[in-house]
């Protein structure tokens, strides 16, 4: 009577090619890996205009648009608005945002910029006027607060506010 043989002996996989693949790919991918994500912020400095408009042209009043002057001082932020609206209306737009616990209150600045943008929907320009001692990092954070509002971080949904930033010095 033939005897039943037992189960077959396990087959050892040859790992050498796959190890070779890993050892070739990993250094290549390591060299290409981006450990820092870099992005840019568009900004400009005030430039002199070359020619004036025709003096006979009457410019159309833009009541849905203001330009915000945002001063960064050592005591906080100072906002003022420039536009075609009446003076008393523009004065209501401006105001001070003092320091909060000796730090700049970027959250409050972002809220204020959002409320101004909600009222004057065509506004897109902010002129940032830092004092000379203000750090570059503070200026970047100020631009962030005035440029956009992140609605959903996971989906990267943003509401654009004052996307056009002009950097100038307080005279």
């Amino acid at each position: 009577m033939p005897s039943k043989r037992g189960g077959e002996a396990p087959v050892d996989l040859n790992m050498v090619p796959i190890m070779n693949l890993f050892l070739a790919m990993i250094p290549f991918l390591l060299m290409c890996a981006a450990f820092f994500q870099v992005s840019v912020i568009n900004a400009s400095v005030p430039a002199l205009s070359e020619g004036g408009d025709d003096p006979n042209d009457v410019p159309k009043k833009e009541l849905q648009k203001v330009t915000i002057n945002l001063q960064i001082t050592k005591d906080g932020f100072m906002l003022s608005a420039v536009g075609d609206q009446p003076e008393d209306e523009l004065q209501k737009v401006g105001g001070k945002i003092p320091l909060k616990k000796k730090e700049y209150d970027f959250d409050k600045l972002a809220e204020r910029m959002k409320s101004i943008h909600d009222k004057y929907k065509k506004s897109d320009t902010v002129i940032i006027l830092p004092e000379k001692e203000i750090l570059y990092d503070t200026i970047i954070k100020t631009m962030d607060a005035s440029r956009e509002r992140i609605i959903d971080k996971r989906m990267d949904t943003r509401e654009h506010l004052f996307t056009n930033a002009v950097v100038s010095a307080i005279l």
């Binding site: 890993f22 001692e133 943003r158």
Partner: protein, 162 residues
């Protein structure tokens, strides 16, 4: 009488590669996900700390101006030294707010550009500006105004994505 058979006591030792394979697989998957290919390569200056920002615009070709805590560089070449947040060692026109060597160099670039039409994208050339986050605005303003006077009023501030 049958003799006793001496069995061989040697046995080959198999190296257990499971854990090593596991480690390599995880590292490989991580590196594949973080692999990124960009059209333009930006060389981050190691002598400065960039500020962080929520900005999402990708980097594009531009003239690189770097303001580290100790030097002002254009396209990797040192133009001036920086000491305690002020430009030092070179002529600075305080009335016109101009760093003279920086102005001369950027003016030369502008002249070449307008003569040779070198900008590959056809758009106006901008300054890609990397500055240390702890630099005071005074020196940043001086560099920006100099560049604007040389014909480059538009900037891209390079920041680290938050």
């Amino acid at each position: 009488m049958a003799g006793k058979v001496k069995r061989s006591t040697e046995s080959t030792m198999n190296l257990n590669l499971t854990s090593m394979m596991d480690m390599f697989t995880i590292i490989l998957v991580f590196l594949i996900f973080s692999f990124s290919s960009q059209d333009q390569n930006l060389k981050l200056d190691p002598d400065l700390s960039l500020p962080e920002s929520t900005a999402a615009i990708e980097f594009k070709w531009a003239i690189n101006v770097n303001l580290t805590p100790t030097e002002l560089r254009v396209e990797g070449n040192t133009i001036a030294k920086v000491k305690s947040g002020k430009i030092a060692g070179v002529k600075v026109d305080k009335d016109k707010k101009r760093v003279i060597p920086l102005f001369n160099l950027l003016k030369k670039y502008k002249d070449i550009e307008s003569r040779e039409k070198v900008n590959p994208t056809g758009d106006e050339t901008v300054i890609s500006f990397q500055a240390d986050k702890n630099q005071p605005f005074e020196v940043v303003d001086l560099v920006m105004k100099t560049a604007a006077q040389a014909g480059y009023p538009n900037f891209r501030f390079v920041v680290l994505k938050k």
